[in-house]
């Protein structure tokens, strides 16, 4: 009895500490996030042109959305882009991090070069890639010409418009590479020494030490990668304007147009919330699967 009461007070004390530690995030969530999110949810049931007051129309936006072929096209393009760019980025950034984690001469310089693309984000980079894939005087077709290949029309041809954007997404792997690199730093070296003594080769050490120890970071990069890819916007906005023939009409680009070009904020909000639910669904599936493949060193006490 005495023991039980002591245990109770201890767990209550822990809960109190937990709430205090979480409080900055909770306060920020309530003040800066939930209000605007709730407002956009409300807008999705209204006709709202931003300038005037929103007028309640019930489910009309959602009904219109189902009938709108452009919405479906935009979801299709976004899903194809994500299905290609997320796994590709995950693998490339992990391999890069492994290479850059070796202690060889000049590694600082290499690490800086490989992070350069992540530093240069935004419009200048989009314009740079627009030039690279310019069919007539761009770098890509010039290089392909050197090895005797006549390059496609890229952004002008609807079948070739999406691949350059997927390739371009690899330009941004510097960020997840850096997170992997930080993760690799956290793997105690004695684990590798123990593995070596037990006769495990480099590949087995990678498979049985690096991957499990890195799994929390892989998990992070996977989830944030999916969230980011499904909201891809800048490339379509600046480079292709959704064309040709809507081949690069990403969902967020389409909802952006509805919101700020056609002044249909209500309809845009409806698209945003459907996209939100889609992203939430993917995230939950991965979260539920995580106990099978994500390994936490300190998981002894974390309750699930």
């Amino acid at each position: 009895m005495n023991l039980k009461r002591k245990w109770l007070t201890r767990s209550r004390r822990e809960a109190l500490d937990c709430y205090i530690f979480m409080s900055p995030a909770i306060i920020g969530l309530v003040i800066f996030m939930l209000g605007p999110m709730a407002a956009s949810a409300y807008f999705s049931f209204t006709k709202y042109d931003i300038l005037g007051a929103p007028a309640w129309i019930g489910l009309d936006n959602y009904k219109a959305l189902i009938k709108d072929p452009l919405t479906w096209q935009s979801f299709k393009v976004t899903l194809i882009y994500s299905a290609a760019s997320v796994p590709l980025g995950l693998v490339v950034s992990l391999l890069l991090a492994l290479l850059l984690n070796r202690s060889i001469k000049g590694i600082f310089l290499f690490r800086t070069i490989f992070y350069l693309p992540a530093v240069m984000s935004g419009v200048a980079v989009a314009l740079l890639w627009k030039w690279i894939f310019n069919p007539d005087f761009g770098l890509m077709n010039w290089a392909l010409g050197l090895i005797g290949i006549h390059g496609p029309k890229w952004f002008i041809d609807e079948h070739w418009a999406l691949p350059p954007i997927i390739i371009m997404s690899l330009w941004g792997v510097g960020g997840s590479m850096l997170v992997y690199l930080a993760g690799l730093q956290g793997i105690p070296t004695d684990l590798y020494e123990a593995g070596e003594i037990d006769g495990a080769g480099a590949f087995r050490r990678f498979l049985h030490i690096t991957i499990p120890m890195l799994s929390p970071v892989i998990f992070f990069n996977l989830i944030t990668g999916i969230i980011g890819a499904l909201q891809v916007f800048t490339e379509g906005f600046i480079m292709t304007a959704g064309g040709p023939n809507n081949a690069t009409l990403f969902s967020v680009l389409y909802l952006y147009r509805n919101a700020f070009d056609y002044l249909q904020m209500g309809y845009a909000s409806a698209i945003a919330w459907v996209l939100f639910l889609l992203i939430l669904l993917f995230t939950l599936i991965i979260f539920k699967s995580s106990p099978m493949w994500v390994f936490y060193e300190g998981s002894r006490r974390s309750s699930k």
Partner: protein, 300 residues
């Protein structure tokens, strides 16, 4: 007994020797391969980057010549000067530095503090709060932009740095998630022994978790710095006074409009100027990433 057998001992010695020799050879081969791959990758990155540098030194009419001239002639060094005589550039740099410093401090403190609660302490509803926090990343910003603006307007914060700085002191879903993943990997034994020595939960966060997570703190710091330094949307929406502008906002001047093509040579010069501090900072910060530093002296 085998130790006394000289024949056996020498056999062992040669075997060991050949083992280290073959190991050294394998090591050298692996180093060579690493260099090869890294150099190839670097070239792929540096070619477009070189184009940016080269474009920034060209005359306007030479930018689109084909095939591209990698070495501009004549070299127009004054592009760099031209790009920034248009603005009070010192003032914009100072504005950017001010905002970035406060955001950096707020993000590092609030995110590592919150992440400790989310990862290593238990409380009812913790996982639900975490999920709600994550969900804030899932709604496209385009539809929360207007209500967020109205909120800051009501608070009387528009045309001040407040909307750009204050939210950073109340956590950020992306970074809290990142730190949580790292904190969950730290063995609990460390905490237990500190607790036995009379350390409070707050002391544990400050004295054990924060020092142990230096690589992830630096990563968050680098991301925050880059993100704030280059942020264009935030300053565009909230800052109306010309003397409150930031560098990223000034850059947009060169990006052209729907009608006019951008002055590519000036845009590239301005972009290179704007990213220079980021590259220097990153180069300095990555020295924290030295293998084996984090857990030295800690045997889990």
């Amino acid at each position: 007994m085998n130790k006394t057998n000289p024949v056996f001992a020498s056999a062992v010695r040669t075997e060991r020797k050949s083992a280290t020799v073959s190991r050294r050879r394998a090591e050298r081969l692996r180093d060579g391969l690493t260099y090869l791959l890294l150099t190839l990758g670097s070239l792929m990155i540096l070619v477009p980057f070189t184009w940016m540098v080269s474009t920034s030194l060209k005359r306007k009419q030479d930018v689109y010549t084909f095939p591209p001239h990698w070495i501009p002639s004549p070299v127009e060094w004054h592009n760099y000067k031209d790009a920034f005589t248009v603005f009070p550039f010192g003032l914009y740099t100072w504005n950017t530095v001010t905002i970035t410093s406060f955001v950096l401090l707020g993000t590092l403190l609030s995110c590592s503090f919150s992440a400790y609660g989310f990862s290593r302490l238990n409380a009812p509803g913790r996982n639900l709060v975490f999920l709600v926090l994550l969900s804030t990343m899932m709604l496209p910003a385009a539809v929360t932009m207007v209500p967020t603006y109205l909120l800051f307007n009501k608070l009387g914060w528009t045309n001040t740095f407040m909307p750009l700085i204050v939210p950073a002191w109340f956590g950020n879903a992306f970074f809290i998630f990142m730190m949580r993943q790292f904190y969950m990997g730290i063995p609990f034994e460390l905490e237990d022994s500190a607790r036995i020595d009379g350390c409070s939960t707050y002391g544990i966060w400050l004295k054990i978790i924060v020092p142990l997570s230096r690589p992830v703190l630096v990563t968050v710091g680098v991301f925050t710095f880059m993100g704030t330094w280059n942020d264009f949307m935030g300053p565009l929406i909230y800052l109306t006074d010309e003397n409150k502008r930031t560098i990223a906002l000034a850059l947009s001047y060169f990006q052209g409009s729907a009608r006019a093509a951008p002055d590519l040579h000036l845009l590239m010069a301005a972009t290179l100027y704007a990213i220079a501090p980021c590259v220097v900072l990153y180069f300095l910060c990555q020295r924290v990433f030295v293998k084996g530093m984090v857990f030295t002296g800690v045997k889990g």
